[in-house]
């Protein structure tokens, strides 16, 4: 997910965070307009429920608005935002959040997206298949396919090495593929 636009995006993120820290009300409008939907999508995937995602989104934004003034590294706005959303979700979905660390292995190269890359799959079927995956797999796939965070940022967010992120992502894709196959979603 590394692109040439990343440094520009990082500078733009830092500028937006600093404008918020200065207290510019217009900057908060931009912040919310830019990040409301990605954060909501992430939370919706974790919660598997629109109403719960709405509540989580509200709690997340309250914490963001109250906390952005103290953000020490404004250039890390994205992982900070998703970190807050994640903590809010974990507080609510703690019973669902079973960490699966025992069989984690670190890998260097991310294998091809064999679950969906070469096949036309109904988007609604992906949505349904994702919903039955464990929350940790849903989270991993959502973070990756939102394409808002780099692998390094996802690793920092989840407090694990990049190799483990790749390994978990690979496993999550396999589980998604199995779920899709079970539903006969491939055409």
């Amino acid at each position: 997910m590394s692109t040439n636009s990343e440094p520009i995006e990082a500078l733009a993120d830092e500028l937006l965070a600093i404008r918020c820290q200065l207290g510019e009300r217009a900057a908060f409008d931009v912040l919310i307009a830019r990040w409301h939907e990605p954060v909501w999508r992430y939370l919706r995937r974790l919660a598997n429920n629109d109403d719960v995602a709405g509540d989580l989104s509200q709690d997340t934004w309250i914490r963001v608005l109250r906390g952005i003034g103290a953000l020490r590294e404004p250039g890390k706005l994205r992982p900070w935002l998703f970190g807050i959303a994640r903590r809010v979700a974990m507080d609510r979905l703690r019973f669902e959040y079973v960490r699966r660390g025992a069989d984690d292995v670190e890998i260097d190269e991310l294998p091809a997206d064999d679950a969906t890359q070469d096949l036309e799959v109904d988007l609604a079927a992906i949505d349904t298949a994702l919903a039955v995956l464990p929350v940790s797999e849903r989270e991993m796939l959502t973070l990756f396919y939102l394409r808002e965070l780099s692998l390094a940022e996802i690793a920092a967010l989840l407090a694990m090495p990049v190799g483990t992120v790749k390994s978990r992502l690979y496993r999550a894709r396999l589980e998604l593929r199995r779920a899709l196959e079970t539903r006969g979603a491939f055409t």
């Binding site: 520009i8 500078l11 733009a12 830092e14 500028l15 600093i18 404008r19 918020c20 820290q21 200065l22 207290g23 510019e24 009300r25 908060f28 409008d29 919310i32 307009a33 409301h36 939907e37 909501w40 999508r41 939370l43 919706r44 995937r45 629109d50 109403d51 995602a53 709405g54 509540d55 989580l56 989104s57 509200q58 934004w61 309250i62 608005l65 109250r66 906390g67 003034g69 103290a70 949505d127």
Partner: protein, 164 residues
């Protein structure tokens, strides 16, 4: 999976409305004013209480209760300004200026009371006022420095983004 619409909890419009309330400058200045008034009143009550040599038990109890109430309001305002309505850099400069003006007036009043009455309580209030003024000035200087640093970084970033 569609994002919520209209005013559903978590919708864009809902979060915008939520932000309006959260970012209200009136609420922030209100808490700053509460902090200043409560601190000044507590300082006066404590000065009277601690400097009067002989006070009936009931009066002492009344001063004690008033001091506790004042301290509770000071604590509440401090909590609100750190947890619920933290000050952004511009707000902090405005709040710092307000605090310096307010505590200067308080010190001037206490100084007047010292000159006119020479009462021990007036000296106590003057001493407390000078400490409060010192804290207010220190806060204003810190807030101004932080604001200047953020504004400078903002200019750097805008320049970098313009030049690509």
């Amino acid at each position: 999976m569609n994002t919520p619409t209209n005013m559903q909890t978590g919708s864009l419009e809902y979060i915008r409305r939520l932000a309006q309330g959260e970012l209200s400058i009136k609420a922030r200045i209100g808490y700053v004013s509460l902090l200043l008034v409560a601190a000044a009143m507590t300082a006066v009550v404590l000065s009277l209480w601690l400097t009067e040599p002989v006070l009936p038990a009931r009066t002492q109890a009344a001063f004690g209760v008033m001091s506790l109430i004042g301290g509770a309001w000071v604590s509440f305002a401090l909590w609100a300004l750190t947890a619920r309505r933290p000050l952004f850099a511009r707000d902090a400069v405005i709040a710092g200026t307000l605090a310096v003006v307010f505590t200067s007036v308080f010190v001037a009043g206490a100084l007047g009371a010292v000159i006119v009455s020479g009462a021990a309580a007036a000296f106590g209030a003057l001493g407390t006022g000078v400490v409060m003024l010192g804290i207010a000035v220190w806060n204003l200087v810190s807030a101004s420095r932080r604001h200047a640093a953020l504004a400078a970084r903002r200019r750097e970033l805008e320049s970098a983004l313009r030049t690509g």
